[in-house]
């Protein structure tokens, strides 16, 4: 099976009638690295939320890994989500747990053994350079550190698909560059990556597939594309 995510004529209209996605059709192949670009409010986050089954589309179908996301039974949703590593734009760390516990928790929910957790969680923290802050609580971290904690949590259980929404929004250029190296490495091991971003310099330098949204429509979809400054 070659295609990980398929969107068929997906439209998402929120309750207050704002059209976030408008008839989007999109195929994402296994192992691809996709930049999702477009102005603020274009629908990037909405698109990722639909894949993650955080919300349902108003019209259209979404297939992930051979399963129709729209038709998942409530009991199947957790298992669907475990296959996706998600870096949320607003982080969503558990405020009452340490950074280590936040990362470990993503493994705990999958029923991983303590042994396994003790091996993987510190590794993930090391990858994002937070090994020294493992025992701190989210509110004790700087914005960039919280973002990195969120990334560590997303990659810790080696997901099939990694969705990163604005993962460099709070990072300095040096850390950003390192993060992109890490993403390429993960991508190299076969993980599909969707990254929504405004960082035109990163997009331009990576020469990956670029999907540009505007007003909820796919306005551009190019292999080794660029951010496109006009947008």
């Amino acid at each position: 099976m070659c295609v990980v995510v398929r969107f068929y004529n997906v439209t998402k209209i929120y309750k207050n009638n704002s059209v976030a996605l408008n008839n989007v059709t999109l195929h994402i192949k296994k192992g691809e690295f996709i930049f999702l670009v477009g102005p603020s409010g274009a629908g990037k986050t909405t698109l990722t939320r639909l894949i993650f089954r955080e919300d349902l589309p108003t019209r259209g179908q979404i297939v992930f890994n051979g399963k129709n996301v729209v038709r998942l039974r409530p009991g199947e949703i957790p298992f669907h989500r475990r296959k996706i590593g998600m870096v949320f734009q607003d982080f969503r760390l558990l405020p009452q747990r340490t950074i280590y516990d936040n990362v470990a928790f993503a493994l705990q929910v999958t029923g991983a053994s303590n042994h396994w957790i003790k091996k993987l969680a510190p590794e993930a923290l090391k990858v994002v350079g937070l090994e020294g802050k493992a025992k701190m609580y989210p509110e004790q971290l700087s914005g960039g550190e919280q973002q990195r904690a969120c990334i560590a949590r997303a990659i810790v259980n080696n997901p099939l698909l990694l969705i990163a929404d604005e993962p460099t929004g709070n990072l300095d250029p040096g850390t950003s560059r390192e993060l992109m190296k890490l993403f390429q490495e993960i991508n190299g091991r076969g993980t599909t990556i969707i990254m929504a971003t405004h960082a035109w310099d990163i997009v331009d330098s990576m020469k990956k597939r670029v999907v540009a949204l505007s007003g909820g429509k796919v306005v551009r979809d190019e292999e080794s594309g660029v951010y496109g400054h006009g947008a």
Binding site: P78, L94, Q96, A112
Partner: protein, 294 residues
């Protein structure tokens, strides 16, 4: 659930109690207060019931006999009375004894018998019934017997007593039920509000791929611990207060029938514990339910 999962649930529940110590304390406090009041009321209801039973058991039917009966006729009558359905006790009161009782009640210091040429009172039986409701029927039956001149059982008093005791029973039962429901409401509301204040946390867990049960179980355990701790505290306080009160009553009002046997009280304490535990468990897991749909 594997070994690691069980450990996780337990650790989670304990951690959460410690983390939300303020909320936990508040919830335990509410459980304690609610169940304390309920417990006091249950004990009051049990004792009221016992008191009513004593009151009722004191009620007796006076059976006055014709003056021309001989010993064997009297004995025969006594046997007849004893075998009458509903009768529990029959005591013979001779006319001499009756006069003595009357004189005592008038004050026996001065001798009224001085003015008395002959005893004006008849022989009588004191009859007790198995329950106060049976008195009117029993009295009516006795009245038909030969040799009985009159039957008095304080019809008005019995009727009033019956009405009053029925009211007291209904009232105390209603109160216990209302208070029980109030306790359930108060406890589950507190737990719901406390879960409500952690709704974001529940949402994040779901986003990480936690199943509903995985999220719910620590909350359920936490609710059980909260409910049980509160109920235990309430039981202990009720027990202490009750012990002090019955000790005091035993000194100042020895005539009151107080229920002190543990076999009658154990169900009260047990009931409180089970109630606290159940409301805690149900309250928290039902509340979590609302926030699981993400």
């Amino acid at each position: 659930m594997g070994h690691s999962a069980a450990g996780y649930y337990f650790k989670e529940a304990v951690n959460s109690l410690v983390r939300n110590n303020w909320l936990s304390l508040a919830s335990v406090g509410v459980v304690t207060v609610s169940l304390f009041i309920l417990g006091c009321f249950l004990l009051a209801a049990i004792n009221t019931s016992a008191f009513i039973n004593t009151l009722e058991s004191m009620l007796e039917i006076n059976v006055f006999l014709e003056s021309n009966l001989n010993k064997s006729e009297i004995n025969h009558l006594k046997e007849q009375l004893k075998f009458l359905p509903g009768v529990s006790e029959v005591e013979f009161v001779s006319r001499e004894k009756a006069l003595e009782n009357m004189l005592t009640s008038l004050g026996n210091e001065k001798d009224i018998t001085e003015n008395l040429d002959e005893n004006p009172l008849p022989d009588s039986f004191r009859v007790k019934t198995k329950s106060v409701e049976l008195a009117p029927q029993v009295a009516a039956n006795i009245y038909k017997f030969n040799g009985v001149s009159n039957v008095i059982y304080g019809q008005e008093v019995v009727e009033r007593l019956l009405i009053v005791t029925r009211w007291i029973r209904i009232t105390s039962l209603t109160s216990v039920v209302v208070l029980g429901l109030a306790a359930v409401f108060l406890i589950s509301t507190t737990i719901r509000v406390s879960v409500f204040s952690r709704r974001k946390e529940i949402g994040i867990m779901k986003f990480l791929g936690a199943t509903n049960w995985f999220v719910r179980f620590p909350f359920l355990l936490e609710g059980v611990v909260l409910g049980f701790s509160g109920a235990l505290l309430a039981s202990i306080i009720v027990y202490l207060v009750y012990t002090i009160i019955i000790d005091k009553i035993a000194v100042t009002m020895p005539f009151l029938p107080i229920v002190g046997q543990m076999d009658k009280l154990a169900p009260v304490y047990l009931g409180l514990l089970v109630l606290g535990l159940l409301i805690g468990a149900a309250g928290s897991s039902i509340s979590v339910h609302r926030f699981l749909k993400v």
